[in-house]
Amino acid sequence: MATETAPGKMATWLEDAKGEVQDAPIGYGRMKRKEDARFIRGKGNYLDDVRLPGMVHGAILRSPYGHARILSIDTSKALAHPKVAAVVIAKDLETLGLAWMPTISYDTQAVLAGDKVRFHMQEVAFVVALDAYSAQDALALIEVEYEVLPAIVNARKAMDADAPLIRDDKVGQTNNLASPTWEAGDKAATDRVFAEADTIVTRDIIDPRVHPSPMETCGMVADMNPETGQLNIYNGNQAPHAHRTVYAQVAGLPEHRIRILCNDIGGGFGNKVPVYPGYVCAIAGSIVAGAPVKWIEDRSENLVSTGFARDYIMQSQMCAKGGKITGLRVDVLADHGAFDSTAQPTKFPAGFFHIVTGSYDLDAAHCTVTAVYTNKAPGGVAYRCSFRITEAVYLVERMVEALAWEMNVDPIELRMRSFIRPEQFPYETATGWTYDSGDYHKTMKVAMEIAGYDQLRQEQQEKAAKGEIMGIGIAFFTEGVGAGPRKHMDILGLAMNDGADLRVHPSGKAVVSISAQTQGQGHETTFAQIVAEELGISPNDITVRHGDTDKTPYGLGTYGSRSTPVSGGAVAVVSRKVRDKARLIAARMLETRPEDLAWEKGRWYVRGDQSKGAAIEDIAEYSYSGSPMPEGLEGGLDAQAVYDPPNLTYPYGAYIAVVDIDPGTGHVHCRRFIAVDDCGVRINPMVVDGQIHGGLTEGVGQALMELISFDEQGNCVNASFMDYLLPTALECPEFELGETVTPCPHHPIGAKGVGESPCVGSPPCITNAVIDGLRVHTQGRVRHMDMPCNPARTWAAMQGNAAPPQ
């Protein structure tokens, strides 16, 4: 197994450059990443690195208002600019049939606003110019006359009788309801459980609007060839095959003439799941200009107009009887912005929010979700999250903590009493999920041990006596990731399955093509390791191909931690198909029957005579040679697979945070963070730990810093990284990681997803820690605050003036 190169020793990667073989595990284990080679040299190929002959540049004019009627648009001065090739507005798109586009949630969204602008920085006009600076200049030459309308930026006011109607474009729409109230669980049973309860806590908990903010913003290079009708799209997105299908439907283009090329992507985190108006503009611009068009949004455009996350107002009650949690009910008011483009499987209008019972064996639960339109940007994407599970876990973990202090029970003790027990798996939850596996008590204990939990509580008391504020927060999450089984889950009618295509070449080297789309997750390494584990070929001899819809099998991409659960399943299955074919060929080579052969990593051998066997590379060579194949078997050593997961996988984890709060300023410092994750079998522990580090950091940001907010006129006031704060190295603690391994019983390699778990578990953990600190400091008077726990909000909460984020 590869190990870290000790400082001072010759580095393995330099040895590679000389053509020597890197020490790599033939299968799972720590292995340095293959994709690093180009990135550390500055040779990645991101969207802005794409250069095509004759390429021109696009820019978008955006609305300065949250809600306004468009009275007129005059583009004549912009068109007179010597370097402007085209200016496109809504009426031009109407002639192409592209003025409106469907969203992921069966709503429609204006590509360019024609009648009204419905959110701040909505797209109004698209300029194509010879260079990027001139395109920006031309935006200033477009004159738009607006009649400003009152804006709704507070979901609680969206259904007021006097609220302005935002979606007057929708036939029959008479109010700002975005979708009918959706519910899960058993209301009557839940009412009975609450009636019999010993203790009930009630909280209004807000998971505020935030933004995934990948470091590379969104954009596209659209290249429509007028002679051939071939449309090549360069675009960093998380689901290239699904995007291709959507473009075929929206633009009426034949799907086989659309090719999407996702090269390297500078982060996604859910932000690069949707199709944005700018993409359609770039395609339209290329059609109109007859040249490739590059459009890349700036940071403000990314923050203000592209997919936000959360924005859930959750009224909740949790109850206990006999010292354990028995019931939960929650009514959610969801703010979907001006167009409903929330990202989730079609049959789940509130995503997987109804996993809200968390890790607990409850008698009953019930939840409702009501979604409204507001004059805010559309989105509702899963920011490092599996379809609203982040909101669900935030809610349940905040409620458990609140209930524990109400009962005067240690919050870990209440969790331990209420956890689903190991022998209850597979476990049917009160809202209809089937959790696959787990030993929650064990994982919680590992976290307590790393943290030194009892000593921490003691330290907290000692500090409190000196007037210092120290808070300890807990979260125990269960996620459901890897959507999903085709009988339950689709997006726009597309089953949430993934394909894999594996070709072993005559020399025994292989190429595996996958439909998952890395945005930094390390697929080129870990998927090679899956093939290596199954076939015994070195991962260095396996190329993972992705990001080109012409050359990879169909599948729904990478989000909701689905890469390993779904695409990883496909890669394992396709490897086993190749192994099975290799067995038939080996039997022919060894002049025996397939059933007389046994497998050890890398070769089939004759049972009872291990010396007689055929290695996979010899089998590969034979399969392409002139030698006779077994009866009925085609030559070559390759296979295809489409993996339909039988269930989601259910990773879980126990997190403990320690914070220090400045009593004078309200500044919160996250001093320690202990994360014990159980994601089943770990393919590459180094990559898993890296995913956890990153997810925890995004959780630190959401808990302490991040908020997308609006003024009363509808202006987004977090339009740059000066106002939308993300954690730097100084805000993040040295994360302390631990692990337990409970293999997923239904996954081909026993793995569960992990990318999003840390971002799901950490926001409630840190928020609980802040509230815990304030609770102790105020002798129990302060028992609630909402994220983000920035200094101003924390200080206000400390004074007893906690306010909802707005």
Partner: protein, 163 residues
């Protein structure tokens, strides 16, 4: 206006608009795509390059301000086919995932080691403060700190013949 500068030891001279940003000069004129752009407001550090050895944000520096200066970008780290220890350290310690912030982080780490009186004795706080002008959404910074430390240790060992 004519703007000349040295980038990775090579002289570049181009007639550009006075408003052209250094990041665009590097990417479009010098055609070095390893330096990325991230935010426009000096907050994210994606665009960091070295000017005369000091890290600067090239998205808020005009190309004209670099006139006559020595610029080092990520492409200037590897010499004669041998990676700079900072590049090796990022690979060894898994200090990159999507790779977009990596060039800025690596040159920042390079400058920190070059300017620190005793690189093997750098505190975590010193390293974290040095990279706090940059944002990374993938790594949580833990492994970036380790990577910079790895490079410092590697260089110290190499200097004493410990290779």
């Amino acid at each position: 206006m004519l703007v000349s500068m040295s980038i990775n030891g090579q002289t570049h001279s181009h007639d550009v608009e006075p408003r052209m940003l250094l990041v665009h000069y590097i990417r479009e004129m010098a055609e070095l795509h390893g330096t990325h752009w991230g935010c426009d407001t000096s907050n994210c550090g994606i665009c960091v390059v070295l000017m005369d050895g000091d890290p600067i944000k090239s998205c808020t520096t005009l190309a004209a301000m670099a006139e006559g200066h020595e610029i080092t970008t990520v492409e200037g780290l590897e010499k004669n086919g041998v990676l700079d220890p900072i590049q090796q350290g990022f690979h060894e310690m898994h200090a990159l995932q999507c790779g977009f912030c990596t060039p800025g982080m690596m040159v920042t780490g390079r400058a920190l080691i070059d300017q620190h009186p005793n690189p093997t004795q750098m505190t975590d706080y010193e390293i974290r403060e040095a990279i706090s002008g940059g944002l990374c959404r993938c790594t949580g910074y833990v492994n970036i700190v380790k990577a910079i430390r790895w490079a410092a240790a590697y260089e110290a060992a190499a200097a004493t013949g410990g290779n």
